[in-house]
Amino acid sequence: MSNRYILTSILVMAVVTYLIRVLPMAIFRKKIQNRFIQSFLSYVPYSVLAAMTFPAIFSATGTTLSACAGTVAAVGLAYFDQGLLKVAVGASAVVFLVQLLGL
C-alpha cells in the first residue's frame, strides 16, 4: 500500500462519513416518517456485518480447521451475550489452542 493510496482512502472515508452526519444537522429539520425507510435502515447493520463475516471468517486464520473452531466459539459466546471483547478474545483463544495442537 502506497502512502498516497492510504491517505486518499482515509480522506474518502472521513469525508463521506462526515457528510452523512452533518447534512441532516445542517439542512433537515423534520424527521423522516416513511416506515419502509426506517425499517430498511434498522436492518442495515445486521445484513452488512453478516455478509462481511461469512464466509470470509473461514479463511481468516491460516488454517480452515482453526478458523471453524474459532467461529463456533464466537457464535457460542455471542449467543450467551458475552459482549464484544469476550467474544473476540474467546474466539482468538480457541484458534490459538487449535493451532498449538498443530491442526
Partner: protein
C-alpha cells in the same frame, strides 16, 4: 455554566470511552496484522470515529479496493447516522450556532447518540463537546495501543487474533438474532447470499465490496417489507 455542561458531558462520555477502548484495541491489532501501518489505523480512528464503517473501509483498503468502492461501502454502512443526526437536530439547544452544529455532527456514533437522547434537557454545544471528546480519546488511544503492541507478538498469536474482528461482528449480530426473528432472518439471508456470491462463479463479477453492497440493499429491503418496525416518535 458552560464549563459545568462540558464537565457533565465528559463524565457521561466516560463509560462509552471505556467500552470503546478494547474494541478499537482489537481493531488496531487486526488491521496492523493484516498489513496496515499503525499510523494509518490511528488516523482512520481519529477521522472516522465509526466501528463497522471503518472496519469495512479498512478491509477494502487492505484488499486494494477502488475509491468508489470504499466510498459506497462507507455510505451504505454509515447511512444510519443520517437518521440519528436528523433526530439529534430536533433536540439541540436553539442557541447553538451554525458552526457549533457543524462541529458536534462529527461525533454522532451509535453510543453517543443513545446517551444524548437519554438526556432530558436540551443539548448544549458544551455538553456535546464533552460527550464526544472522552469516547474519541478512548477510540483513538485504543487503536494506537493495539497497533503498536502487535509488532511484539509471535505468528501463532497474530494468526489467532486475526479472527478477533470477525468475532466482534458476530458479537453484534448474534444476540439480537436470538431475541428478534426479523434480525435472525436478516442475518441468515445475508449469510446465504454472501456464501452464494463467494462459492458460485456466476456472481464473481461482484468483487468483495460490491457484493456486500448488493447484499445489504437486497436483504435490508426484503426484511423491511416482511418485518416493518414500529415507527418511533422523536423524543422531545
Amino acid at each position: 455554566m458552560e464549563s459545568e455542561n462540558f464537565r457533565q458531558g465528559l463524565k457521561h462520555g466516560l463509560p462509552i470511552c471505556l467500552g470503546y477502548f478494547p474494541v478499537s484495541f482489537a481493531y488496531g491489532m487486526s488491521v496492523v496484522l493484516s498489513g496496515m501501518p499503525a499510523w494509518a489505523a490511528v488516523l482512520i480512528s481519529l477521522t472516522n470515529l465509526t466501528s463497522a464503517g471503518q472496519f469495512a473501509g479498512s478491509s477494502l483498503m487492505l484488499a486494494g479496493g477502488g475509491y468508489l468502492e470504499i466510498a459506497l461501502t462507507t455510505v451504505i454502512i454509515n447511512i444510519r447516522y443520517f437518521l440519528m443526526s436528523l433526530a439529534l437536530s430536533q433536540k439541540v439547544d436553539e442557541k447553538m450556532t451554525g458552526v457549533q452544529r457543524l462541529l458536534v455532527s462529527f461525533g454522532i456514533t451509535d453510543e453517543i447518540f443513545a446517551v444524548s437522547m437519554q438526556n432530558e434537557r436540551k443539548l448544549t454545544a458544551s455538553y456535546l463537546a464533552g460527550l464526544i471528546l472522552t469516547p474519541m480519546i478512548g477510540w483513538t488511544g485504543g487503536t494506537l495501543a493495539g497497533g503498536i503492541l502487535t509488532s511484539f507478538l509471535p505468528t501463532i498469536v497474530t494468526n489467532a487474533l486475526s479472527i478477533a474482528l470477525y468475532g466482534m461482528f458476530i458479537a453484534v449480530i448474534i444476540p439480537p438474532s436470538r431475541k428478534k426473528k426479523s434480525v435472525l432472518f436478516t442475518v441468515l439471508f445475508a449469510v446465504l447470499l454472501s456464501c452464494c456470491f463467494h462459492y458460485f462463479p456466476v456472481f464473481s463479477v461482484l468483487s468483495g465490496g460490491w457484493g456486500i453492497i448488493v447484499i445489504t440493499l437486497v436483504v435490508s429491503a426484503v426484511a423491511a417489507v416482511l418485518f416493518p418496525i414500529e415507527v418511533e416518535e422523536v423524543h422531545e
